[in-house]
Symmetry: C2
Subunit: 191 residues, 2 copies
DNA sequence: CCTATAATTGGAGATTGTCTCCGATTCTAA
DNA sequence: TTAGAATCGGAGACAATCTCCAATTATAGG
């Protein structure tokens, strides 16, 4: 649903160099580097940078796409190997674990979740899809309520991503997950 | 804890004109107008704009400060007149009601919540304080769990604010509140 | 291997938005 | 009324983004 045409050799090389250098810079916290400098530091011209990544967000998306895909894969694996409600809990707890200390990923996810359409929105949609699947399975298993959808859970996760640099981030993020899980379970008639 | 020195007559006039025009523009959805143009349209020089509001965020904060203060007052009023858990529910539901259709307020709150220090952070801190009070009262009344703090609730609200332009905003925001409330209540040993 | 064609490149400079500076103006208090 | 302080306005310095195209590099066909 994405890759269509194979890039020319030099184009691929430059694109990869840009992503690699950007990943390095993001890991180092240099998020608001002058956009043109990503090109300079990667050793390519600014025209090349803009051809491959029209915006700063597009570059960030490319850098973290793999990581996001891995999270989605993990969700599907949990879905396949654990009871539905355990899979859901494990995924959400793992989501916070994974974000913690990875500011670049948190920032990028917050941006993607705020994007409604276009190629950039794909990442958030993929995440929304796996959450929807986990939720549906748990509903089917009778483990959680059915009157609150994946959109609400995504919105809570959006808050977790957007608040990445809060001093009590970890505690609060864990608290949000606790509330979401307990809230989902509470709607089910006490059994 | 804020106002110290009374402004000179012309300064106050200009400041008020800036806020009034900005409120009008925000209400009309013109959020990313060139910053200097807020001055032009309000009929003052750019120097005057920057003297009163060093950043776009500071201007937005001033525009919505009243509204935010009103929300906090309302929380205290509910706190004083309703049982603790009803006050909490009423406040959170009202929060979403109030945000709905007021994109400017939502955007601004999202920005303030992402601000950790400085004068801009005051607004979010005030909101955090009233939520903390509502929560503490509900804990005292034995209505909700005591192992999840106001920071977590604020983080969930942050998500609600940050996702203001999602197509299913209202449904999802209501869902988040439902989860938060149910989650808070679930931690209490079934009574 | 060589060439014709197409894709891609680099980076100078146009464009656009932000912010500063200071002479002119307006206010206030005495 | 006036001296002095506070504020104003807006030209232009500065900074970041983004475009454009002559030069370069890759690829496919002969």
């Amino acid at each position: 649903m994405t890759d269509a045409k194979p890039l020319r050799a030099d184009a691929r090389r430059n694109r990869d160099a840009l992503i690699a250098k950007a990943r390095e810079l993001f890991a180092d916290g240099r998020f608001d580097l002058r956009f043109d400098d990503f090109a300079k530091l990667a050793g390519v011209g600014t025209g090349t940078l803009y051809r491959h990544f029209p915006t700063r967000e597009a570059l960030a998306e490319a850098v973290y796409r793999e990581e996001l895909t891995a999270m989605c894969d993990r969700a599907r694996e949990l879905h396949a190997t654990l009871p539905a409600d355990e899979a859901l809990e494990s995924f959400l707890r793992g989501f916070v674990d994974h974000l913690h200390g990875h500011e670049g990923l948190a920032r990028t996810l917050a941006t993607l979740m705020a994007t409604q359409s276009g190629a950039l929105a794909e990442g958030a949609q993929a995440l929304g899809q796996v959450i929807d699947d986990l939720l549906a399975a748990a509903v089917n298993a009778g483990a959680i309520r059915d009157d609150v959808g994946a959109g609400a859970v995504m919105m809570a996760l959006h808050g977790i991503c957007a608040a990445y640099d809060h001093p009590t981030y970890r505690t609060d993020a864990d608290g949000v997950i606790t509330l979401v899980l307990a809230g989902l379970r509470r709607g089910v008639p006490a059994r």
